[in-house]
């Protein structure tokens, strides 16, 4: 899946990526690489373009110019069907809130990604239970999202990602609605997943207290992305 212009070990690479909304240039010649297996953090104030960057990386939106590659695959060359496949197998997404479908129990939410990936129902259920066990959430498996705490809901979103065994997880301010302790626990968990499963993580945040968990840091300012030292 490697192609020219990107390092073989890059999980995600942006090359002179432009994205504007009307007059607002959210990304300007954004160029960076997220090394495979890293626990990377994307830092920037509100409105700096973090969500824009993550949406482009997940193929949810198209860049105006430049190249976005996920494990070497140029997203501009993928059609809608291939992008769906990418989101099912390669990329996992976590948002600030309301990640879980409110009418599905936690275990069903987790099962969902395994099912649409093509697992048999029995296999998907077993996998969902195993993932919840791994995240210490077995006791909450049968609860609906409305019956979970904010921290549990975000960990549930991580569990849902893991059930599909993605190669990269993109998290958009996953701790924005959590208190300090829950935020620390959440990032500790993401770090552990990155180490134990080799999953690449790119988490946007403006919470500087969690930076210690990062193995790579990116800062976004005026639409430009800079790598900063951990």
């Amino acid at each position: 899946m490697t192609s020219q212009g990107a390092t073989a070990t890059a999980a995600l690479s942006f090359e002179a990526v432009e994205k504007a909304y009307g007059g607002v240039r959210a990304l300007r010649a954004a160029t960076f690489e997220v090394p495979a297996g890293s626990m990377a953090m994307l830092i920037g104030p509100s409105g700096s373009g973090k969500s824009t960057l993550l949406h482009l990386a997940a193929g949810l939106d198209r860049a105006d110019a430049g190249r976005v590659r996920v494990f070497g695959a140029d997203l501009a060359t993928l059609d809608a069907r291939a992008l769906v496949a990418l989101r099912r197998r390669e990329v996992g997404l976590i948002f600030q809130f309301n990640n879980l479908l409110p009418t599905l129990r936690l275990v069903e939410n987790v099962e969902y990604t395994a099912l649409i990936r093509g697992d048999a129902p029995r296999v998907a259920r077993a996998r969902a239970l195993a993932v919840l066990e791994e995240l210490n959430m077995s006791a909450a498996a049968r609860r609906f999202p409305g019956q979970l705490s904010g921290g549990e809901r975000q960990r549930g979103a991580i569990a849902r990602c893991l059930a599909a065994a993605p190669r990269i997880v993109l998290a958009d301010e996953p701790s924005a609605h959590l208190d300090g302790e829950n935020a620390q626990q959440l990032f500790a968990l993401l770090g552990r997943i990155s180490r134990e499963h080799g999953t690449t993580i790119l988490a946007a945040t403006h919470d500087l207290r969690v930076l210690a968990h990062a193995t790579a840091r990116f800062e976004i300012r005026d639409g430009h992305v800079h790598r900063s030292e951990p």
């Binding site: 949406h55 949810l60 939106d61 769906v84 099912r88 997404l93 948002f95 409110p102 009418t103 599909a164």
Partner: protein, 408 residues
Amino acid sequence: MLLLRLALRNLRRNPRRTLLTAATVAFGLGVSVWLEGVLVARTRDMVSTVTGTHTGHVQVLTERYATQHAVDALLDEVPRELLQRLPAGSKVSPRAVLPVLLTHGERTSFAQLFGVDPAREREVTDLAQKVTAGSYDVLGEAHGAAVVLGAELGNALGLEVGDTVELLTQMPGQGVARRELTVGGIFAVGGGAFERSTAFAPLTFVQGLLPSPGFHEIAIRLADVRLADEVRAELARALPTGTVATTWREALPELATLVTFNDATALFFSRLVLVIVLFAAANTMWMSVQERTFEFGVMASIGTAAPQVVGLVMLEALLLAVLSAAVGLALGALVIWHHQRTGFDLRPFLGRQSNAGSFALDLVVHPLFSVGGALRSTLSIVVVVVLASALPAAFASHLRPVTALRRA
């Protein structure tokens, strides 16, 4: 399975809205099924009452009699082809018909005088049961010159059983014939032109007035009136030229119109119900989809393909439709069952009197539950509800994930 659970729970999310829509679907279907049951039964009652009173289901006559009503346009005998082609269970009664003037004292009335063989006529019509005074059997040949009159005709002439009535008639190219008849019976069918202008006499008596002894028409009762068109077509092929077959539709054009009107009414109301249900369901599905914009964004972002989103929304509509249609069907069937036992009285809606052309009708209907018709209505309503969800489903599946996700 997960999809099914998801769809069911999504329906339960806004129970009031779902229940209201379900009630619309159920009520609409219930009313359609019941109304169709009433109208089908009313049609059946009308047709069987009217054809059973006089015309039968199919008539065979000479082409000239059919078009000109010429009294000398006679069939010499019952065509052999007819007896061969009729389905089992068919009954046949040959008749001779004369326009006559009846006079009693100062009063005179015009009437159609039918010469019948009462034994055969009993198998084709149930007029014998409508005789309210005297007897129908006086039409047997042993009694000679006896007549059975409609009650209104009898009243108009001031006749009672046992009285004598004078008959005048004229054959083309012959002089006026004059006979005396004894009133042997009076029949009543609830009024109408038929009762006002119809009289029956023995077949041989009427044939004695004709230039030659033959028949003007052969009335046929089939095992089932619904066979009429088929039998007519079969007879049209088999009968000798100059002889034609007609059905009750041609013999009773007013009744045929009424039946068509009945069918059209049923169709109109069931279509109307479908349109109302379409709007109700479309509204519900739109609101339900619009409220879940962010959710559809999440679903797309975790790899749900557009057809799966369409499938989910339409499955929700299908479940809503099937569950509420089941209730509606049960409701309609229940009310029909109730009215089958008690009868549904149309008089408050139609006034005291209702005639199918010249025949009086029973106004208490015992509706029919037609399995085929009910299933067809159920299927249409389910299809309409699912179709109503097609646009909302397409909207949900075409939402751009980024737009949906920013609408948090």
